[in-house]
């Protein structure tokens, strides 16, 4: 029973990682940038979600606002920060991104205070029993929501003109451009969707913990990097699988290795172990 419970917990955590990491993978696939500041958009989404929900009383409005605000902020971040750095070696953008994230985290602390915000009337907190396991409503919704979003994204990518344009740009930007695809638009769209997903995930985490703090993005940001590396950098299905695997590994690790290592250390020990055996990531085709 403990076994199944741990798997279930791991999958809940893994779904959240997946939502955050998907945006990162989209950006990496397109621009080859490790976008640490992505987690700032996750935190931004969470703050917007809580503030809007408390003001309007509607969780749905909060989700939409969080996703849109994070998405727009993501596009701005791309235009102002990354676009001028694309011709530089990759570590330049990485360090700029880390700087941006650190500054953003401090800005959240200064603007909203260090102690964090909560929902005045938290919803989806009830317990549900499913197959003998206890879940929070929010936990179930996260899993369902993640599956739904990923299904929609997969459909968009393979069945719409915009999605195919994005795929073409990832595999060969020059060729895509010569076929009349606007690189600029594709990048904007990718940043918008990826960032919106991060904002969306932020609201879910806010709901699960009923707390939003300035530092809530730091652990997911580093872990999401670990996940996209595990997934083979730039591969969407790989990222998805890696997120779920990491969630489950963490759930088991904290029970069986908790004496030796803390949660983050388990995640990174797993990452290092995998990279030493498969330097190209768990699910990369090479």
């Amino acid at each position: 029973m403990l076994f199944i419970e741990l798997i279930a917990q791991g999958l809940v955590q893994g779904s959240i990682y997946a939502l955050i990491a998907l945006g990162l993978t989209l950006v990496y696939g397109l621009l080859r940038i490790l976008h640490v500041a992505h987690a700032a958009l996750f935190t931004l989404g969470a703050y917007v979600g809580v503030l809007v929900c408390n003001a309007s009383g509607s969780l749905a409005v909060a989700f939409v606002c969080a996703a849109v605000v994070a998405g727009i902020a993501g596009v701005l971040m791309y235009r102002l920060a990354y676009q001028p750095l694309l011709s530089q070696p990759p570590f330049v953008a990485l360090i700029a991104s880390i700087g941006l994230y650190i500054a953003a985290e401090e800005a959240f602390r200064i603007v909203f205070g260090a102690q964090g915000l909560s929902f005045t009337q938290p919803s989806l907190q009830g317990q549900v029993t499913l197959g003998g396991l206890q879940f929070k409503q929010a936990e179930l919704m996260v899993m369902i929501g993640t599956v739904a979003i990923i299904a929609v994204l997969a459909w968009l990518q393979s069945r719409t003109r915009v999605g195919v344009a994005c795929q073409a740009t990832v595999s060969d930007p020059q060729m895509a451009e010569s076929f009349g695809i606007s690189l600029r638009q594709v990048r904007d769209i990718n940043f918008f969707i990826g960032s919106a997903l991060a904002g969306f995930a932020g609201v879910w985490v806010a709901l699960l913990n009923n707390l939003v703090e300035p530092t809530m993005g730091s652990v997911p940001s580093y872990k999401a990097l670990a996940i996209i590396v595990l997934g083979g950098l730039g591969s969407v299905p790989g990222t998805l699988a890696a997120a779920l695997v990491l969630g489950v590994v963490e759930a088991f690790g904290t029970i069986y290795l908790g004496q030796l290592l803390d949660r983050n250390a388990i995640a990174f020990a797993f990452l290092i172990a995998v990279l030493m055996v498969r330097p190209q990531g768990l699910f990369a085709r090479r």
Binding site: P90, Y101, I110, A226
Partner: protein, 285 residues
């Protein structure tokens, strides 16, 4: 006077730490997001030995040796993975270090190690030792640059594959860069432990790794003189402007971003542009 002595000691320790990373990232082109872990190993080694009654100067080589040994292990990872993958792996190392140390009761666990014995040199004497070490590390860096090894490092940073084709034993030189760089980080850690007489795992975490990387980048990756200046300035900044103490990270993050955005070569590139505007203009066109 007391305040100035403490400040100078802090600056000297930061400069040693930054120059040690400059050897790996600047000279050899291997990006590391986890350099604080090696400082941590040195600090914990020195602190444990000092508590066991070892004299100050005897703890230093052990701290360097242990940090260097771990450095070689991580360096082996750099043989397997490159660039972005290496950045993430080294980031993993620092999280692993903090996670492991926190759970070890014999290393003080969450509380850290306190009441580390005095070095017995007096404040001024200790400052003298750290400053001397700082000068020695700077001279060593400059010397390495001029040797055959330094040239190979530069070649690896520029184009690893070409170096391999030229028949250079790239793995050996990479490991050498990691060994020297991390051993020096261990030295700075030992000084750090004696200086503060209290250490905890979170003193050597990811933020500290980024801080030291920002010093290197801010100065100009690879330039010994400018990295020295940047490390001295950035480590003293919070002490000089008490106002920004609270906003320290905001300023760090902002500076890091602005520098990368407008001058990816750091202060060294800025200075070059300032004193030799024609050359850069020609270079750009």
């Amino acid at each position: 006077m007391n305040y100035e002595i403490t400040l100078l000691t802090t600056m000297a320790i930061s400069v040693i730490f930054a120059l040690s990373l400059n050897l790996i990232t600047g000279f050899c082109g291997q990006i590391s997001l986890g350099h604080a872990a090696f400082q941590g190993v040195g600090a914990y080694a020195a602190a444990m030995l000092a508590k066991a009654g070892w004299p100050f100067f005897a703890t230093l080589p052990v701290a360097m040796l242990l940090a260097g040994a771990l450095g070689v292990v991580v360096g082996m990872a750099s043989l397997r993975v490159r660039e972005d993958f290496l950045a993430i792996t080294t980031m993993g190392v620092v999280f692993l270090f903090v996670g492991v140390v926190r759970q070890q009761d014999w290393l003080g666990g969450e509380l850290g190690l306190s009441a580390i014995p005095d070095h017995g040199l007096g404040k001024t004497g200790f400052m003298g030792v750290t400053l001397l070490a700082c000068v020695a590390v700077a001279l060593l860096s400059i010397h390495i640059r001029r040797t055959w090894m330094g040239r190979v490092f530069n070649g690896i940073a520029e184009d690893e594959d070409t170096m391999r084709v030229l028949g250079i034993d790239v793995p050996r030189y990479k490991l050498a860069a990691f060994a020297i760089g991390t051993a020096l980080a261990g030295l700075s850690g030992a000084f750090y432990a004696y200086h503060l007489q209290f250490i905890g795992a979170e003193n050597f975490g990811f933020i500290e790794s980024i801080t030291v990387l920002s010093m290197v980048v801010f100065g100009g990756i690879g330039s010994v003189a400018w990295v020295l200046i940047a490390a001295a300035l950035l480590s003293a900044l919070p002490a000089w402007f008490q106002v920004i103490g609270d906003y320290k990270l905001l300023v760090y993050g902002g500076l890091l971003f602005v520098m990368m955005r407008f001058s990816p070569g750091g202060m060294a590139a800025l200075a070059r542009r300032l004193f030799n505007p024609m050359a850069t203009r020609e270079g750009k066109s």
